[in-house]
């Protein structure tokens, strides 16, 4: 299925979870300092492995940068 990970089209297997999208984004795999939103809703880290992705979803994988 196709999803958008940080604005990039991404082909992922059916039934995969937020964990795979985080890995695909290039974020540290332990998820430390990383946050995820799907279609404008926060997905807490504790629910990444239980949250299945659906086709067409927009997944934002974010981490700290310099700013402010």
């Amino acid at each position: 299925m196709n999803v958008l990970v940080n604005g990039e089209r991404c082909e992922l297997p059916e039934g995969c979870t937020v964990d795979e999208a985080v890995e695909r984004s290039g974020a540290p795999t332990d998820g430390r300092g990383v946050a995820v939103a799907i279609d404008g809703e926060v997905v807490p880290r504790g629910r990444w492995s239980a949250t299945e992705l659906r086709p067409g979803q927009k997944i934002e994988v974010l981490q700290a940068v310099q700013g402010g």
Partner: protein
């Protein structure tokens, strides 16, 4: 006594923004020289090519991390960004920024107040970047914000404190700490803010874009300390005419 916000005490009254440094080593050196114990970070899409971790730089510098909502133009985006930051960094502190104009980067007052109310209700410790408007500052305090952070002048402008009168009014009425945020150009601007009774100063560009960020960071540290000491020490009143500091009694007759 240091800077006390929401029951936490910081011995430094200088809060560092981390934007604009050319690389993380320059940031690390400036943080060290600044003595700051609190520093802002932003949230952006993961960049797999990025080298080094700003979170680790802050940890090594002994700085607590203060996530911001930079780049948000609506209350909705700012609220979501704050919630994401809470997930990423396990802190409920947030520097709330809701911008209303991309040329001046001035805050949008109505969106800011709406976001502040929602985030306070959601359990956040909210430090709003606000206009130098005493009425808005009071509304933000009434909404439950842990501090108010009025601008001296637009972000990155280096124009100093354009409305010292408004700043005095904000300080005079505030029941929460007042942190001057944005517009600092050089050390004397930071001192003026502290002499006006601000509880702290937050700055980034003045250090990160200085020719020598590390030395400017030290200058800011000293400026904030000097301004606070002067404020606490009670300056002399201004007077029109001179007042001799040497005794007028016992002057010899020499001719």
């Amino acid at each position: 006594m240091g800077l006390e916000i929401a029951g936490r005490t910081f011995s430094s009254r200088l809060i560092m923004g981390t934007g604009g440094f050319r690389h993380l080593d320059a940031l690390a050196a400036a943080l060290e020289a600044s003595g700051a114990e609190l520093a802002t970070v932003a949230l952006r899409r993961v960049d797999p090519s990025a080298r080094g971790s700003i979170v680790e730089v802050l940890e090594r510098a002994g700085c607590e991390l203060l996530p911001n909502t930079a780049g948000c133009f609506t209350a909705r985006d700012a609220i979501l960004t704050a919630q994401l930051a809470r997930e990423a960094f396990e802190t409920d502190w947030v520097k709330l920024e809701v911008i209303g104009d991309d040329r001046t980067l001035l805050p949008d007052p109505t969106e800011l107040l709406e976001a502040a109310e929602a985030l306070v209700a959601d359990g956040f410790t909210v430090l709003p970047y606000t206009n130098d408007d005493p009425v808005l500052a009071r509304r933000l305090e009434d909404a439950g914000c842990a501090a108010v952070m009025p601008l001296g002048s637009p972000i990155g402008s280096g124009m100093g404190i354009r409305n010292p009168y408004n700043l005095r009014l904000i300080v005079e009425q505030a029941g929460v700490p007042v942190v001057l945020d944005a517009g600092i150009g050089t050390a004397s601007d930071a001192t003026l803010a502290m002499e006006a009774g601000c509880d702290g100063v937050l700055l980034a560009s003045a250090v990160s874009r200085a020719a020598d960020p590390e030395r400017m960071a030290r200058a800011m540290r000293l400026a904030v300390e000097a301004g606070r000491l002067a404020f606490e020490s009670g300056r002399i009143p201004r007077r029109l005419h001179a007042e001799a500091s040497t005794p007028t009694e016992g002057v010899p007759e020499l001719t």
